[in-house]
Amino acid sequence: MAETGFVPSLIGTSGETLREAFGRTVTAIAGRYPSLVVLDADVAGGTGTHHFRREHPDRFVQFGIAEQNMVGAAAGLALAGCLPVASTFAVFALRTIEQVRQSIAYPRLNVKLAASHPGLDAGPDGASSQALEDLAAFRAIPGMTVVSPADAVEMAAAVPAILDFNGPVYLRTGRSPARRVFDDGYRFELGRGRVIREGSDVTIVACGVEVARALDAAALLTRDRVSARVVNMSTIKPIDHDLLAACARETGAFVTAEDHNVIGGLGGAVAEALAATVPAPIEFVGVRDVFGESGEPEELADKFGLTGRWIADAARRAIARKGTR
């Protein structure tokens, strides 16, 4: 599995935050994208774009606490020939859903929306700050590409790929330190999932901070002699149908894991893909259609059922259902 870039020895080590990796990367590669402009709504320090503001002040546009106008103006900037990257927190991105739909996706403008603080990973600010619906909402817009990288290494590789891609993209970053999953040689491919751990009894499909937890689950399952495959599905839309169909044939059962509502996000995308290709039992790990609360990300992940042991339990259930088909 050398080609996967998966580094077992690094699992569990505290990594850089996804927002920091996003901010540093977009700043570092700005020279390769002369038309790039970064748009902020008074959260540059929170999204990582403060690096860009410092290095490229003439290409940084401040909109104040007015996300709808920022996103609408991003459409205008794209029409004027700029490459706009608008950044805010994921909950505030949700309030721009109609601007993204009407002003960006419908005319298929080349605008990127990078959202930090998604999911329970947003932590102590509590339910009002924990966007659990963003993947579902943006996935439902025609023509949107939706990406949620697993760690800082993947984020650094994903940002240039997204800037090179001509079309609207929703990029999910993150607030808290993201555990290391990949080594520096990792190559990101938009629209492709990747097997990062081989296994034959069940496939765990995860995105974002849940990828490291999926690897925890696979390790736990080994003790029970269960062989779990782990797929990093960082592009949620368009979903990698071929890889999912292959995993269905080869393992026959699935768990999806996401720091998001179990409705409409990664789990929904995987279920839709499998239903249309090779149907298989699926168990969904995610927030079970409730709101979160204040707490540290790991405490919340445990309470709301997102950690490795919960994923492992779900894997056992999925395997048990294989015979019932």
């Binding site: 038309s35 709808q68 609408g72 459409a75 205008g76 900037l77 029409l79 004027a80 009407q102 002003s103």
Partner: protein, 272 residues
């Protein structure tokens, strides 16, 4: 009649005919905006350099009329308005030749215009950006986010036009959600405010010149207009805002009011 006035009249004739052909549309909003569009498209806009955003996208029949008269698409295309597979969609989209921004959800076109103006500045282009807003549209919060941003960033290359016909979908603005004091609102957002009679082509011309002379701040032309202007039975009647189907005698009367010889009304039937 001046050339601009005759262009405005032609825009009105085509717009009401498009709505008649389609069986639905917003005639009142097209008729109030026609003189402003005529001055824009036949005098002010520099093709290829400037941009126009119709944020009140429901008035697109008037925009399509102006674009047709400017030669962006032919008479056959006019017959496709609101029709399955047709070029001319029920709201303006950039897939239509000459349309600079996709609009239709109120408030959003104004933000697009702010982004265009910022983008022109960012890329050192000398283009100017014009955006037309409806008065009811000003009730959208996004409009004031965009107004604040344009004032803050001193977008002197941006000119907004409010088609202030005093009416919206259901009723008068005054009874739906009061806008006054409107000039003071724009002034408070750091805009240069120019109230005019929106049917006086000389006043419109002068207002655009005024806007051009102020590179340090955006200008809003508060154009006082009459909803349904030019069609006697529609003028000042809120019911003609909405998506209405004209009866045969109503389209005949409208074209007569707009000076079309009854023997030549067939020239304004665009559907084959």
């Amino acid at each position: 009649m001046s050339d601009l006035k005759s262009r405005a009249t032609e825009i009105r004739r085509i717009a009401v005919s498009l709505i008649n052909d389609a069986g639905s549309g917003h005639p009142g909003s097209c008729l109030s905006a026609a003189d402003l569009l005529a001055v824009l498209y036949f005098q002010e806009l520099r093709e290829g350099r400037d941009r126009f955003v119709l944020s009140k996208g429901h008035a697109c029949p008037a925009l399509y009329a102006a674009l047709h008269l400017r030669g962006h698409f032919d008479r056959t295309a006019l017959g496709t308005f609101r029709r399955l597979g047709g070029l001319l969609q029920g709201s303006p989209t950039t897939s239509i030749p000459g349309v600079d921004a996709t609009c239709g959800s109120l408030g959003q076109g104004f933000s697009i215009a702010v982004g265009l103006a910022l983008g022109f500045r960012q890329t050192s282009r000398d283009g100017r950006v014009f955006v037309m807003l409806g008065d009811g549209e000003l009730q959208e919060g996004e409009v004031w986010e965009a107004a604040m941003a344009a004032g803050h960033h001193r977008l002197g290359n941006l000119c907004a036009i409010v088609d202030y016909n005093k009416m919206q979908s259901d009723d008068l603005n005054e009874r739906t959600m009061r806008l006054e004091p409107l000039d003071a609102k724009w002034g408070a957002f750091n805009w240069h405010v120019r109230p005019i009679d929106g049917h006086d082509v000389n006043a419109i011309t002068a207002a655009f010149a005024d806007a051009r002379s102020r590179p340090d701040r955006p200008t809003v032309i508060v154009a006082h207009t009459i909803k349904g202007k030019g069609v006697s039975y529609m003028e000042g009647v809120p019911a003609w805002h909405g998506s209405v189907k004209l009866k045969p005698e109503e389209i005949a009367r409208a074209l007569a009011d707009l000076g079309v010889d009854p023997a030549r009304t067939h020239e304004y039937a665009f559907r084959g």
